[in-house]
Structure formats: C-alpha cells, structure tokens
Symmetry: C2
Amino acid sequence: MVHNFSAGPCILPQEVLDQASKSVKEFGGTGLSLIEMSHRSKPFVQVMDKARALVKELLNVPETHEVLFLQGGASLGFYTAAFNFLTENGKGSYHDSGTWSSKAIKEAKLLGDIEVVASGKESGYKDLITEYKLATDTDYFHFTSNNTIYGTQWKELPTTDCPLICDMSSDIFSREINVSDFALIYAGAQKNMGPAGTVLYIVEKDLLGKTGRKIPSYLDLEVHIDKDSMFNTPPVFAIYTSMLMLEWLKNLGGVKAIEEINNQKAELLYNEIDSNPLFEGYATKNSRSKMNVTFNLTDASLEEKFNKMWTDANISGIKGHRSVGGYRASIYNALPLSSVQALVNVMKELATVAV
Amino acid sequence: MVHNFSAGPCILPQEVLDQASKSVKEFGGTGLSLIEMSHRSKPFVQVMDKARALVKELLNVPETHEVLFLQGGASLGFYTAAFNFLTENGKGSYHDSGTWSSKAIKEAKLLGDIEVVASGKESGYKDLITEYKLATDTDYFHFTSNNTIYGTQWKELPTTDCPLICDMSSDIFSREINVSDFALIYAGAQKNMGPAGTVLYIVEKDLLGKTGRKIPSYLDLEVHIDKDSMFNTPPVFAIYTSMLMLEWLKNLGGVKAIEEINNQKAELLYNEIDSNPLFEGYATKNSRSKMNVTFNLTDASLEEKFNKMWTDANISGIKGHRSVGGYRASIYNALPLSSVQALVNVMKELATVAV
C-alpha cells in the first residue's frame, strides 16, 4: 500500500475509487457507462441533485445560499469571484497569504480597485497575518483559508461586516465552518472533495446581481443558479466522484468526525517535527496548517538518506513545492492516521540511524 | 446491448470504457489511481503530452498551431474565442446556424462590435446559409461547423482571408479538415473525443496577443500555451479518457477511415428517411448533418407505436431536442453501423405494421 501524501490531486478513499471505477463500466443498471449518458438523463440529474444536497447537509448550508459545481478550478474562480462581487468603481479588499492569494489579487485587479490589507510576503509567508483593517467602503474581503505551498492556515476564520469571500480549495470539509458568515466560498475539488475537474461554489443568492456589470454567462453565478448547475454540460465524472466522496464523509460521521481525526493526524506529525532535532517546521507555530505540513531537515547532508528511507517505506508525494523546498506532507481527509504514523516512524528511525 | 444515440455526452467505445475504468482503480503499475496522483507527476505529464500529440497527429496540425485541453466547455469557449481575437474597437463577424452560434454571438457582444453576416433563423434553422459577405475590416469570422439541435452541418468548410474561428464541438475528428485554414478551433470533448469535462483548443500561435486587451489568465490562450496546458490543475480523468479515445481512433485508421464509416452510417439512415413514407427529414437536404440526423413522423398518430418499438429494440436517446421536437439520432464516431441498422430496421418494421 502506498502512503499517498500528494498535495493534490490527492488520495481518495478506496471505496470511492472502486465505485467510481465500476460506474465508468456500467452505471446503476442502465446498461450504459456513467460517462456516455446524457447529462439531462434522470440518472445523472439525480447524481447532480444528490451531490448538491450532500454539500448542504454536511456544511449546514442555510437556505440563503446555493451550491454549484462548475469548471475552471479556483484559477477561474479568482476572476469569477471578483466579477460577481466587485461593483463598477468599487473596491475589493484582499488578504495575501501566498501564491494563491496573489493570483486571486492579480485577476481581480483586471476588474477594478483592489487593496491588499495584509501580506505575509516579507516573512516568506511563514506567518499568516491576522491583523488588518478593512476600508469601510469595501465591496468585500477575500482570503485564502489554507495555503498548500507554505503550509499555513487560518486557525479561526475571520468574520466581517462586509461580504466575506474565501478560496477554501484546500481545507473545505476538513473542519466545521459557519457558511452564513460567507457571501461566497469557492473550492477546487481535488483535495478533500474529489478528483480534479470541478469546483464548488457556495454563494449567498441575494448578494448577486448588484455590481452593475454585464457578466459573461459562464462567469455569472446567477446564470448557473437559474439552471440548477446545468447551464452547460457539467463535468459528469468529477461531480459523480465528488458525490461518492461526500457520501463517504457522511457515513464516517460528517465534518465534525473528520475534524477530530484531522486534529490527531496533525498533532502526531507536528509533535514529531518539534521533538525530533533532525527536523524543523517551515511555518511559524501559530500559522501551521492541519492540511499541509511543511518541514525541513536541520542537517541537509541527511537528505539522501531520508529520501531513500521514506521511499522504501512506500511513502509518496512529500517533496516540498519547488518554490519552498524541503518537505510537505499533505494530510487531507482521505489520508489515514496510519499513513501519518508510517511517516513519523521513518522520521524517528532517521534519528536513530543518524546518531 | 444498448444502441446509444445520445446527443452528448454520448457513446464511447467499450475498450475505452474498460481501460478508463481500470485506471480509476490503479494506473500503470503506480499502485495509485489515476485520479489520486499529482498532475505534475511523470505518469500524468505523459498522458497530457500523449493526448496533445495524438490530436496533432490525427488532424495533421501544423507547427504554427498549438493544442490545449482546458475546461468550461464551448460555453466558456464562446467568450474565450472573442477575448483572444477581437481587438479593442474592432469587429467580429459571425455566422448564425442556431442555438450554439447564437450563444457565441451573445458572449462576444459583451466585448465589442459583432456583425451577424448570415442567419438561418427565418427557416427555423433548417437551412444552413452558405452565402454571406464579410466586412473587409473584420477581425475574424466565426461559425459552428455542425448544429446538434437542428441537425445541420457545413458540407464544405468555409475559407477566408481573415482569421477563421470554428466551434467544432460536435463534428471534430469525424472528417478530414485543413487545420491551417483556422486561427482557432475549439470543441467540447463530449461527442467524438471523450467524456464531458474538457474542451480542446487548436490555435495559431502567432495570431495571439494582438488585441490590445488585458485577458484574465484562465481565458488567455497564450498563458496556457506557455504552461504546456498545465497552467492550473487539469481535468485529469477527462483528458486521460480523451487520450484513450484518440488512440482508439488512430488504431482504427484515423480520421480518413472514420469519415468513410460515418458516410456509410449517414447514408443508410437518410436513405431510409427519404424512402420510407412514414418519415421526413427536418433539415433541408443540402444542409444535412452526418452527426445528428433529425427527422419526424409524417403521421403523428404513430408516435406511441414507434416509441414503443424502438424502446423494445434497446434503442436509446433518439428523442428530439425540446426546441425542435421529433427525433434526433446522433451517430457520432463511436456509434457502430450496426446500431444505425437496428434503428433502420425498426423504421422499416413500422412501415409494415402501420399499413
């Protein structure tokens, strides 16, 4: 068995993979594959409805909000978010916690006046700055809840008087959140929700249509709501597999249950980093992510040895992002505690061997 | 066996479904599923490279052009096409052959001056108008090669002096084309190329970057070319399955070979429509599509009987689009001649029973 610490696309539960694989061959007694039937057919409409309903159930989404499964990843989401919430001649406020926030800022700037109210850039994004001041006339505040590259995460999510927008791609469904605090949450599927190829939007309906802009149809969240997330042919396989993943989470006890497991996994790994003199964490302690654990060897000469040891232990995907280096263990929902234990065992073993 | 005439997503070859299903369980001896590994991993980079190379090989794509697999369907493509080719203060010329062209026109109008040079609207889009005049100062000419809803298709594709843009979603890979005639071809995968969830762009590189516009990153074809179609996490499963489908086409003899089979299928079905007094075609003869065959009963009272007969014969997906009514048999690349024969047999049988 491979211990899959990939940062995304990432590990999915075996039962999800088995069922997805089966449905590509034949789906629900139709005699057809899931991927060769019309998206307007009853079996697929049921899949879409169920996927949206599961999101609502698992996150306690209030009636004020709607759930959509679209395409283009968070990368298109950066632009879509601004297009739907930045008024003509208005202002958007952004928190910069690294690569993904910076990209969100870049796309939003194409549409208007964007203010960066806090940035961790000077610390190499090791710190996630939680002190900032919002202009009273801002249209919205945008932040990234978890930074996969630097391994930082908001411990407590901010609340605001203005509409709050969050790119939650890498930690949605990992912990309980209060959806009613948000005007918009968007999240690429390929971490805790499913395979690559779809992006989730949870949006407060009454806040849409107020920018004074003519929005292109595919970027207009109102258009997608009107069409029940079927404005055009949806990414059938990615949505179906996300539905399976959400079912898996529900059967496991929901977000509250997985949050406890995620806490255990993070604690186990950070404890080893902090107690083992051969390792040090990258992110500052109070900014640490429970999804992406970034760390370095304190003695670079041990690199080759360590790399061989974890490779031999069937551990995969812990090389750090090219912009940071070192190591990054992504411990998303589907990664079992036993895989974290396997990594910790190798770290302990290195300490023995290196003495 | 189901005879799957779905208009899209549509029938895929069994060997493609089998291999895709297998790879969702385990991919290429990696011990991981295709959908739980990093898109930057060697195995997936090879998939992406191979998919792009197969498009180039099968369509004889010249060195001047590049191939991309993106997201958002042709629906986002309508806007993307205009954003990359319509200069500020410039003009785009559009041919209107129905629903899809109309949508392309609508999105382009958000960016500038759009002229509709011909429209089949007055005839209920039964006719595909091939006479039109382009303004000498137009930035480009846009057309839809095949209309799935009305069942019309350009017999001979137009050529122009200005850049030529085509939405080829529903007939790409069905017949030989001359890619060098086009500035841009875009096509949703879910007819002849694969499952829903990715859209193919074939674009002439030197024509990009000339509009004077700041293009949002996800809509900027130059950005995607610079990143080898990996600007952001790609829709892994949809691209992999498209690659399998392109391999299937290559093994079958390529586009020239499938074109001959497609001609046989279309001839068989249209011959029946024309010789059987119980049926009449919807599209005018010289506008008929070889991908989507639209037809009606001449005697509406036979509807119930006919519907039962084709259902009993395991025929699926031939109800016409809600905006046209009647019947539509979509006979894309993966639909075998034997399925067309099964439908023709039912049509002949109806003639016997109805006498």
